[in-house]
């Protein structure tokens, strides 16, 4: 980690303000994106990287305006291509910490191919998915994460599409840090961001984000005080899966089936609860957890579903270059042009 400069050691101590650009933020009032921006700016000083080595890349959509509001290097790409652009940035300079700001339409629809392949290759990128389950910038069509049956401008009779579960998709495709958080839970988001910044490999954070204009309240049952405790379960490593206003419910694994148990029914105790292991090599439990948000009667998990270490694409690529250079020496023009059959004309 020779390139990771400890800002304290170098005497630089950033604050959130250091990461704020001079451009007026133009999201709609009340948009969940404001919170994401605030949490990113707040945690950026803890990313362990000099400001000039941080690059934010995005595609198209409301979320993709994000790089303009950061004072780091930024690249606002074209629709869906953020992951591919970011991969190029990362491969060109291994000293850069590359973040991607994207949305459900940008990354899971038009950019789906780039997303799964960046995950598969485990490129060292941090992808922040602003999931509001709607197309906002184009004014209200359904997205690949809109729930089935949703009435939108382009589905007046309700969608017949099944939505993507982004967590399942990311884990299935090979991301090595998979987490979910919510715009209205700043502390939790900060924790997820900081942890993602330390991960080597493809870190994916799905942020449930409210669009107050076209999909207002999509997550209120998860984010509001009255309903949150019953509907959200916070994943913490090595801790039992417990939820409810009085922490009186748990999740138990019955074979491969999750079951909600009542910890006060006299039949179950906290010892019956599934203990979360985010470092689990086996993806099965992570997948069961990822499904909970789709199952009626189950709480929606937030937190780190799974993280594991696997060599990164960019890391292995650079190793290969270094290896070949150590074997052959660094290439020269003479070697380039003359390492083949040659003949002389006099």
């Amino acid at each position: 980690m020779e390139n990771k400069i400890d800002q304290l050691a170098t005497g630089v101590k950033y604050t959130a303000k250091d990461f704020s650009s001079d451009i007026d933020v133009k999201w709609c009032p009340g948009c969940g994106d404001y919170s994401i921006l605030a949490q990113v700016q707040r945690t950026s000083p803890d990313f362990g990287e000099k400001k000039e080595n941080i690059v934010w890349v995005s595609g198209i959509g409301c979320s993709s305006r994000f790089p303009y509001y950061m004072s780091t290097y930024g690249f606002h790409g074209i629709h869906g291509r953020a992951a591919a652009i970011a991969t190029g940035v990362r491969l060109a300079n291994k000293n850069l910490q590359v973040w991607v700001a994207t949305g459900d339409g940008d990354m899971l629809s038009i950019g789906g191919n780039h997303f799964i392949h960046a995950c598969r290759k485990n490129v060292d990128l941090k992808i922040l998915l602003f999931n509001n389950r709607i197309y906002g910038l184009t004014k209200g069509q359904y997205s690949p994460t809109s729930e089935k049956g949703k009435v939108t401008k382009s589905s007046p009779y309700g969608t017949v599409d099944w939505p993507f579960n982004a967590i399942k998709l990311a884990d299935g495709a090979g991301a090595t840090f998979i987490a979910r958080t919510m715009d209205r839970d700043p502390k939790h988001m900060q924790e997820m961001l900081t942890r993602a910044s330390k991960h080597k490999g493809l870190a994916f954070i799905e942020v449930y984000q409210n669009c107050p204009i076209f999909n207002d309240g999509a997550y209120f049952h998860l984010t509001e005080k009255e309903t949150k405790p019953e509907n959200v379960i916070v994943l913490e490593h090595n801790k039992p899966l417990v939820f409810g206003a009085n922490k009186d419910k748990g999740i138990k694994l019955d074979g491969i089936n999750p079951v909600v148990i009542d910890l006060n029914d006299g039949k179950h105790s906290i010892n019956d609860c599934w203990v979360h292991d985010e470092f689990d090599d086996n993806p099965t439990r992570g997948f069961i957890l990822a499904r909970l948000s789709d199952l009626p009667g189950f709480p929606t998990p937030v937190g780190v579903f799974r993280q594991y270490n696997k060599p990164t694409y960019d890391g292995d690529y650079m190793k290969q270059i270094e290896h070949v250079q150590s074997q052959k020496g660094v290439g020269t023009y003479e070697r380039l042009m003359f390492s083949t059959t040659t003949w002389e004309v006099n």
């Binding site: 400001k51 995005s58 291509r81 190029g88 060109a92 070697r335 059959t341 040659t342 003949w343």
Partner: protein, 613 residues
């Protein structure tokens, strides 16, 4: 008794067989040996899109043509003097291309009922007199090869596979070429398979000695070295030359090369070739699709690499939106488009020049880019260096057009010294003082400020930028200013484009204006017509956008402008609209390059017919 050796100036040989017969390998070995003797060489492989079409079928015929000469030659030759036909299908497919009285060396063992039927022959052409206009040399190639390999513990099928080396040996003998180079090549290739090595070497030698000892040829031929400029030479194909050109450009520029690419015929060899150059720090990102190929290249350009993406027509279509992004972000990327027959999947392994208008205009919005075209396999090297240089010096996408004919064709290249390559005049912005992302220099070029540089943190992207400052701007006046700036910058490239130079008379009746791979055939066609007393001048364009600044003036000096193109008149369209002058179109869209004779005859026609002199 050694046979008589007759010295000839020029010969064209075509090897043809089933796509599993190893014809490409045979051809390239013959090429390497011949070129290394100092003979000038031009080659053209011709193979089907199917990797292995049914054995023996007409669709599965694969060919490799070599033109070699003691003169300076520009093409792989119009019509073969010699055809080596490994089976009936190969004979049938290639017969129409041969010169009258051409020699046909036939593997008679493959002319059995089954293969004749696969080639749609009712009667064997060896027996029905249909080959009477040719000098047919029947050789039992398969049987002779198998006999030569007796005692080796290879399967009959493996032995059969060596017959191409027998044929190669025979051709080496016929044209007085040494077999040593190929023997050495086999040694390095089959180091770990001694039996296969022994078999192929034996087949090669047997073919050579067969020529010496049998009576089938009374004469052997020799083609003396050409009078080429002094220097050290190597052979290059167009695709190879592109790869070498960009690595050389990276060395000259002092920044690492990044290729983002997705495999596509006929451009894949560039990706394959560049993936070998890890010792040069070359990063080849084999992307998930064409779009990711260019998108990653744009990211790498933003981060300070010499960025390249390579493709062919269908891929260029997919990259168009991203090219627009590179235009508005004003980042340097090179896009090499190896053109093939279109539209759609079209003719993947055949050549065409029909992507010119797409390269020029195929983007939404006002999105000018630099467009260049290479004229020969060797020129692919120099054009690549130029394309890279213009890209970084002008912070712009540059589209370099080559085509299937150049990509697979090969010729000897005099290796230039490193300092003969042009210098790259650019620098990364370091100084934060007075830095604005879109503050332009005298050439209207914005600074290249790469991530990792303290104090230059800035944001760019696909939304319209505020002049100088680079922030998002929707102001009407600003949009027009930026469009004008981007256009004017590309026009500034004209300052580094050499003036158009006419070969031949500077004014007169007829100028042939050409671009891309038609160069060789046109040059030879003009030479042949001149020998008959018909004069045409030649102007070949490497820079298509912007054109050389004197082009309009040069064109006005001729009464007639003839534009031969492998499309339906795309350059003619540009010339007409740019200079308000007419041009005579000469178009061919058959997936095949122009023949010298076609150009020659067109010159006669345009100048009033051969009898109109």
């Amino acid at each position: 008794m050694a046979k008589q050796v007759q010295v000839i100036e020029d010969v064209t040989v075509r090897f043809a067989g089933d796509s599993g017969d190893g014809m490409q390998l045979t051809g390239s070995q013959f090429t390497d040996t011949t070129a290394s003797l100092g003979t000038d060489v031009g080659t053209l492989p011709d193979f089907p899109a199917e990797i292995r079409a049914p054995a023996g079928s007409l669709a599965g015929v694969s060919g490799f043509q070599i033109h070699f000469s003691s003169n300076d030659i520009q093409t792989p030759g119009d019509s073969p003097d010699v055809l080596v036909a490994m089976n009936p299908a190969a004979l049938k497919v290639n017969l129409k291309d041969l010169k009258p009285n051409a020699t046909i060396i036939i593997n008679t063992n493959s002319f059995d009922l089954k293969n004749l039927k696969l080639a749609n022959y009712d009667v064997s052409p060896l027996e029905d007199g249909s080959l009477s206009g040719f000098n047919v040399v029947p050789v039992e190639l398969t049987k002779l090869t198998v006999t030569a390999l007796e005692g080796l513990s290879l399967s009959p099928k493996e032995k059969d596979k060596c017959k191409n080396f027998f044929a190669l040996g025979l051709m080496y003998w016929l044209y007085n070429r040494p077999i040593e180079k190929t023997l050495q090549w086999l040694e390095s290739k089959f180091k770990k398979k001694p039996e296969i090595l022994e078999a192929n070497q034996r087949a090669l030698k047997s073919g050579f000695y067969y020529g010496e000892t049998t009576e089938i040829f009374t004469t052997r031929y020799d083609v003396k070295p050409a009078k080429l400029p002094k220097g050290v030479y190597r052979n290059v194909s167009g695709n190879e030359a592109v790869a070498l050109g960009f690595v050389a450009a990276s060395l000259r520029a002092g920044i690492p090369l990044f290729l983002g690419s997705y495999p596509i015929t006929p451009a894949s060899e560039i990706l394959q070739e560049l993936s070998k150059y890890k010792d040069f720090g070359v990063v080849t990102f084999q992307a998930e699709d064409e779009i990711a190929g260019i998108a990653s290249a744009i990211g790498a350009a933003f981060a300070g690499s010499l960025a390249l993406t390579t493709t062919s027509g269908p891929g260029l279509s997919l990259k168009t939106e991203a090219i627009g992004l590179a235009v508005i972000t004003e980042l340097p990327i090179a896009i090499v488009n190896v053109q093939r027959g279109g539209p759609s999947t079209g003719l993947p392994t055949k050549t065409e020049q029909a992507d010119l208008l797409q390269a020029m205009y195929g983007r939404h919005g006002e999105a000018p880019v630099v467009v260049m075209a290479a004229k020969s396999p060797v020129d692919c090297f120099y054009a690549s260096v130029e394309a890279a240089k213009i890209a970084v010096e002008f912070m712009t996408p540059v589209i370099l057009l080559t085509d299937g004919y150049l990509a697979f064709g090969s010729e000897p290249m005099k290796i230039p010294a490193f300092d003969e390559l042009p210098k790259f005049n650019f620098e990364f912005r370091k100084n934060p003082e007075g830095f604005y992302p879109y503050l332009r220099n005298e050439n209207l070029v914005r600074p290249w400020a790469i991530p990792g540089t303290p104090g230059l943190e800035h944001r760019i992207g696909g939304l319209e930028k505020k002049d100088v400052y680079g922030n998002i701007s929707y102001e009407p006046e600003n949009h027009e200013i930026m469009i004008n700036n981007r256009k004017a910058k590309i026009e500034k490239v004209q300052t580094v484009v050499p003036d158009a130079e006419v070969e031949g008379d500077k004014s007169g009746e007829l100028l042939i204006l050409s671009w891309g791979s038609t160069y060789g055939a046109i040059k030879e066609g003009i030479r042949k017509a001149a020998a008959e007393g018909y004069k045409a001048s030649h102007l070949h364009l490497r820079y298509i956008h912007p054109f050389p600044k004197n082009l309009g003036d040069v064109l006005k000096n001729f009464k007639k402008i003839l534009i031969p193109e492998m499309n339906k008149g795309q350059m003619a369209t540009i010339i007409r609209s740019t200079f308000l002058m007419d041009a005579i179109q000469f178009n061919k869209v058959k997936g095949q390059p122009f023949k010298v004779a076609e150009i020659e005859n067109k010159i006669y026609e345009v100048l009033g017919g051969k009898n109109g002199k």
